[in-house]
């Protein structure tokens, strides 16, 4: 990995990077090689990423408060895990292992959504199918303090 390539290895049109040749005048970010290792969804949400390799906090201050063990936070954590894997899959569409994990998370998310909406009302329009009354307008809305504390 750290073997230094030289101009002789790379030819006169290429630049030399540690262990690789690459054209000049271009920004390079290393490709993440795998969606593993990964945090569990609730820890991922708390830290802001599923991936320990990308977890780079400012002055090493991390969120330690922990999320509440509620249907609300469970749904948030699984939605976050699905969205985080989606961004990974956008740049790694052929990673079938990550896609299998994504499928598992989507399944868990659908179940968590059912549990949450039964207790607290709809999150999206499709949650309203079969409901006995129009609960979309109910308070609290997501930006209210109480929406993030009382459940």
């Amino acid at each position: 990995m750290d073997t230094k390539t030289t101009a002789a290895d790379c030819g006169y049109k290429n630049g030399s990077l540690p262990g690789a040749c690459a054209p000049l005048a271009m920004a390079y970010v290393p490709m993440q090689q795998s969606a593993k290792p990964a945090y569990a969804p609730d820890e991922g949400l708390s830290r802001g990423t599923l991936f320990p390799g990308l977890d780079l906090p400012f002055m090493n201050m991390v969120n330690t408060g922990g999320l509440m063990d509620t249907p609300h936070c469970e749904l948030m954590a699984l939605t976050f895990a699905a969205d985080e894997l989606e961004l990974y899959l956008d740049t790694h569409p052929a990673d079938s292992e990550a896609f299998a994990v994504y499928q598992d998370i989507l399944k868990l998310r659908a179940e968590a959504d059912k549990r949450y909406t039964k207790l607290y009302g709809p999150v999206t329009q499709s949650d309203m199918l079969g409901m006995s009354r129009y609960a979309w307008i109910d308070n609290p809305w997501p930006w209210d303090y109480t929406a993030n504390t009382e459940d």
Binding site: M26, A27, V29, F58, M76, L87, W141, P142, W143
Partner: protein, 198 residues
């Protein structure tokens, strides 16, 4: 089209209102490196992106930024709930207050209203992705600076989350650029612009 999810991406629960903090956190709502600009930048760059994985990436990150805009709105809203005129004066919040009361308005911390001049849509694959990588770093720096100034643990919890998302997005845009390079002329990436030349 877009469908609303009646839920924040990450919980915002600020116990102590404090307009002094809202005064500078509002910049991530409507400032030059804020979430409104981020979402509009990516969602506007999508249209001429020639590669499907980059269309997906710009759509997904642009959509997530709208969720972050809502989180910043929630932070400012909760910091400025139930303010009294005395508290407004003590916090130095009069300037914002007389213009917007307790409403949420897209402006920078230094008072400039949101402006599209702060974002770039160049219509060139390399230019736009390089802009996006820089934009994520600028937003990350803004969150670093907010963490330097804020001593409220509830605010900092949500800000640290948003800051980490910038790091992840930088990585994904960098990967998107690498994926795009594989499709360009390997001898000269600048031979043409695949978002315009066919």
């Amino acid at each position: 089209m877009f469908e609303y999810e009646k839920m924040l991406q990450y919980p915002v629960r600020i116990k102590m209102p404090n307009p002094a903090l809202a005064k500078f956190i509002i910049t991530q709502y409507g400032g030059p490196d804020g979430e409104l600009g981020a979402s509009l930048r990516y969602l506007s760059q999508r249209y001429v992106m020639p590669y499907p994985e980059l269309r997906a990436l710009l759509t997904d990150i642009g959509t997530e930024e709208l969720g972050h805009l809502e989180m910043i709105g929630a932070i400012v809203h909760q910091l400025t709930r139930e303010m009294t005129p005395e508290e407004i004066k003590k916090a130095g919040y009069e300037g914002y207050f007389v213009d917007h009361t307790a409403g949420i308005y897209p402006t920078s911390a230094s008072g400039s209203p949101w402006n599209a001049a702060g974002i770039g849509v160049k219509g060139d694959v390399i230019s736009d992705l390089t802009e996006d990588m820089a934009a994520e770093q600028k937003a990350r720096t803004t969150y670093d600076n907010i963490l330097r100034l804020s001593d409220d643990p509830d605010v900092n919890d949500a800000i640290r989350y948003l800051r980490e998302r910038e790091v992840v997005h930088f990585q994904r845009f960098g990967e998107g650029l690498r994926n795009a390079l594989e499709k360009l002329d390997q001898k000269n990436f600048y031979y043409s612009n695949p978002a315009f030349d066919t």
